[in-house]
Point group: C2
Chain length 540, copies 2
């Protein structure tokens, strides 16, 4: 039997419509690409999104068509998101920091018909265009005066502001299915087939509600939300929906993500909550240490994308009175997975224990379920020590990748590729990527735990732990260490220090001093060349 | 194009499953029908709901079947809600305070197969059973020892705890449609055809997320939520879903809603947030005035069901430091409509203006849209003065009544039957039920505004304003006044005082002193006999 409530599926553009109708004067503030602060209201934003949507329809964009964007966090990019999804097309956010070959690969895989781009990427686009057969035209997010010279370009080029001017300010937003696609984001995997995650209106809607909850980000109309997390990364954590849903003031940094610019934006706009990856906060804290300014309005930062260093949580708390909320998620999860917001069951913990809990990735809101399993798929206990593969499911977790015929699930669960523990409070902690776990005689050893222990030693500049093949144990941990200048720390000293933190069978079989540890383009340790060079060293 | 997120519709029982899995030790506390406090965890509650669901299935309850409940707010009633909806049946909450004839009418209209009832209602049920042909059996929410004598009853009678004991603790919850019916509640209309509101899993789910938002009730795991609002009234405001969704501690008063019992429950369980109708708070404040106790843990009360008196907001704030949130909704809206949570646009208002805003019904969360219209359906301005019919829509607003072939909507909007203003901040204020508006020469006059003004005068005990037929103006307001003992206030004095608050054309044409004002069973002024007696008094 069906309920007799109103059944019309919710189009995401109705979130912006709600903001325009009930928080019409609330601001969207942008530190623009062209330079200078731009302000407009939710009411303006909705009208401009409507005009753009109308113009896109007149151009011939239809339901299901992909429209790519290469843009910073700006009001125009925000309008584009809502306009494109609002007419039932798919907003494909392309990460402009990828290599040109990767950009071509995913634009061609997505078959984007149009690209809506920021001026910053003019050269990139001009050079790529001949290799992007599906792309019919390019729209630059700027005014006519700022248009680049596009003589000789391989495709027609339009001006965003002209399009907005040409569109009507009224539209009949189409009726969509509950599960209609809204947007598309490729995972950052740099090898193999491109993996596109096709978000839905339903998933994004539930996700935005969940983000608003007090135990997640707690977004209210009286918050001013700085959305540093790029709109081309993992759906920008859903903040582009959750902010307007609550009627919060939205502050967008454009391309200006250095510490000084972020500090000025926070203080200039009285930002109360902000979300970004650790790198951005490292730059901000570095700038603040100059003593030039504080952070008076800021109450809380959400940090995700990689594990939050304990020192960062402490520095924010002790020096600026800012609460850090650790957020974990992934592109395949729209992306919210867990949040490290303390629970009543933790009321008895002391400061140190609470701090350790905040260093964990945290607990799930309703809408995400998770479990850890062993290699046979058996669920493992929530004791905070046992680690296993982390599986997730829920209405905003992927079912399959774009243009894939195969489900990405096993028995309804998605394997995150992470190895994690879950403690008695339900707090999950990622210990490794599963490919980084060392399997020694049927036991799993966390390479990240060893790495962190070694990196914490004085005299060690950077260290990497990998599994080396072993005749008896299958794999055993070895550690590559780059010592700091003037450091004379010895292998025995390192092993000795590690003994305090690790069980005997977890201690590395070898310590190798090296001159350099290779890093990936995003600054993470690149273990591939290390495995190639040292993976057989225990067999010799 | 469809998104590629996981599509499985969400069964409401998964909310309780989430609470059991991620907040297993969090408590559900009940001031029981039998007497004494009962405690169990979310984990217990889920297992018991599972057992009950299994037993219901074994009995033969199938998807779409209606199971009625007549119960107080207790853990058993909570379990029943989840168990019944979880197996795809419909939980029909019957208001046990209705007259027996009304109860028969709606149970027969709903065609309930089973009735799950509290001991309190044994006599009521026994007498009604012969007239309830669809009801196959009755289950008493008690232990075997507490079962009433059911010799000679018209139908088989079972013991709830025995059923829970007989059910298996594992179940495959069925897959349901997005819009599957979850529950059924009849509006309190005492005349005409019964009007059943058939709630959906989807509507309840979105509604629970919205309730959790910081600008609505702000429900977090560290809150202790006292749910006084009866589970047989308007879906108990959705709190039975929103509480477990957040992992909040849930406190249920059972039948004990007097001021002393509520105060003891709040203080004994460290309740932080509570929701009830004004009558309950009047009783609580009355009890507190004895000076026996304070309200140390309580931070906020949500009050709805009828307009919140300004004095109540002030007393809570000034004497107990408790914030009052005015909530407006209706059975047809699952029931959340608006909340009077201040907005940033009101930051410049002084204390008095803010207090007046809090007396309004407030603003919509995302998921409700509203507008005020004139008799021709034209939208009216949001100026805080113009009043019109209040129309609403959204995914948890009714489309049609149960077993009705007709949509309850006009152009997609549901007419609430209320007359309201909306101010520049989006704050709605109900001024009248539309049947209580007096239409004088094309202008609308608020009978409630006149009533309130008269009731505010010293010497007036109670007053009622109705529209009396008028040869020229169609209708004109007249006021029936019962003076207080010893009061000598005159008609002229009343008119004189009203002139300060009302425009001349809004002033009543007659003041009639009466010995009594008739009230309905729920304590509201009953205008029907007054209209019959005085509606023609201006024609004579």
């Amino acid at each position: 039997m069906y309920g007799l409530m109103q059944r019309e599926p919710i189009n995401l553009v109705s979130i912006l419509g709600h903001a325009a109708r009930w928080h019409p004067h609330q601001e969207v503030v942008t530190n623009t690409v062209e330079g200078g602060i731009h302000r407009q209201s939710y009411s303006d934003t909705y009208v401009r999104a409507t005009r753009l949507a109308n113009r896109l329809q007149r151009y011939g964009i239809e339901k299901g068509d992909r429209v790519g964007t290469l843009g910073w966090n700006t009001y125009r990019h925000l309008e584009s998101w809502y306009a494109i999804a609002g007419i039932g097309a798919v907003c494909h956010t392309v990460n402009p920091r990828l290599f040109p070959e990767q950009i071509k690969l995913i634009v061609n895989h997505a078959q984007d018909r149009l690209l809506v781009v920021d001026l910053t990427f003019a050269d990139l686009i001009r050079e790529a265009l001949p290799d992007l057969p599906s792309v019919e035209a390019v729209i630059f997010m700027c005014r006519g005066d700022d248009m680049p010279d596009v003589g000789g370009w391989a495709r027609p080029v339009y001006c965003y502001e002209r399009w907005v001017g040409e569109g009507e300010d009224r539209i009949e937003w189409p009726a969509l299915a509950h599960d209609a696609a809204s947007s598309l984001c490729y995972t950052s995997g740099t090898t193999g087939d491109p993996k596109g995650v096709l978000y839905s209106h339903r998933g994004n809607l539930l996700h935005a509600y969940a983000l608003s909850m007090p135990d997640v980000l707690g977004i209210a109309a009286n918050e001013t939300l700085l959305m540093v997390v790029p709109m081309f990364h993992a759906n920008s954590w859903g903040l582009a929906y959750a902010g307007p849903m609550a009627g919060a003031k939205l502050v967008l940094p454009g391309p200006h993500m250095d510490g000084k610019s972020i500090a000025e934006l926070i203080n200039g706009e009285n930002v109360t909550k902000a979300a970004a990856v650790p790198t951005v906060w490292t730059m901000l804290l570095g700038h603040l240490r100059t003593g030039e300014t504080g952070l008076d309005s800021l109450k809380e930062v959400g940090i995700g994308g990689s594990a939050v260093p304990r020192a960062m949580i402490e520095e924010f708390r002790n020096d600026y009175g800012v609460n850090v909320v650790h957020i974990w998620g992934m592109t395949e999860m729209t992306p919210l997975g867990t949040v490290s917001r303390p629970k009543p069951s933790m009321a008895g913990l002391g400061d140190e224990q609470l701090l350790l809990a905040k260093c964990k990735q945290g607990r799930v809101p309703f809408g995400v379920d998770m479990k850890i399993v062993d290699d046979a798929g058996r669920a493992l206990p929530h004791d905070g020590r046992t680690f296993g593969r982390l599986l997730v499911k829920g209405p905003w977790t992927i079912e399959r990748y774009y243009r894939s015929d195969e489900s990405a699930l096993t028995d309804g669960w998605f394997d995150t590729g992470d190895i994690a523990t879950i403690d008695e409070h339900g707090f999950m902690q990622v210990t490794d990527r599963s490919k980084d776990v060392i399997k020694s005689g049927g036991e799993w050893i966390s390479s990240v735990a060893i790495e962190n222990a070694v990196m914490g030693l004085e005299g060690v500049e950077i260290a990497a732990c990998i599994g080396a093949k072993h005749p008896k144990w299958d794999e055993r941990p070895i550690v590559l260490v780059k010592r700091g200048a003037d450091s004379q720390i010895s292998k025995n000293e390192i092993i000795g220090e590690l003994s305090a933190h690790l069980a005997k069978w977890q201690l590395p079989d070898a310590i190798v001093f090296v001159d350099a540890i290779p890093l990936t383009a995003t600054g993470k340790i690149d273990k591939k060349p290390l495995r190639a060079a040292y993976g057989n060293c225990l067999l010799q």
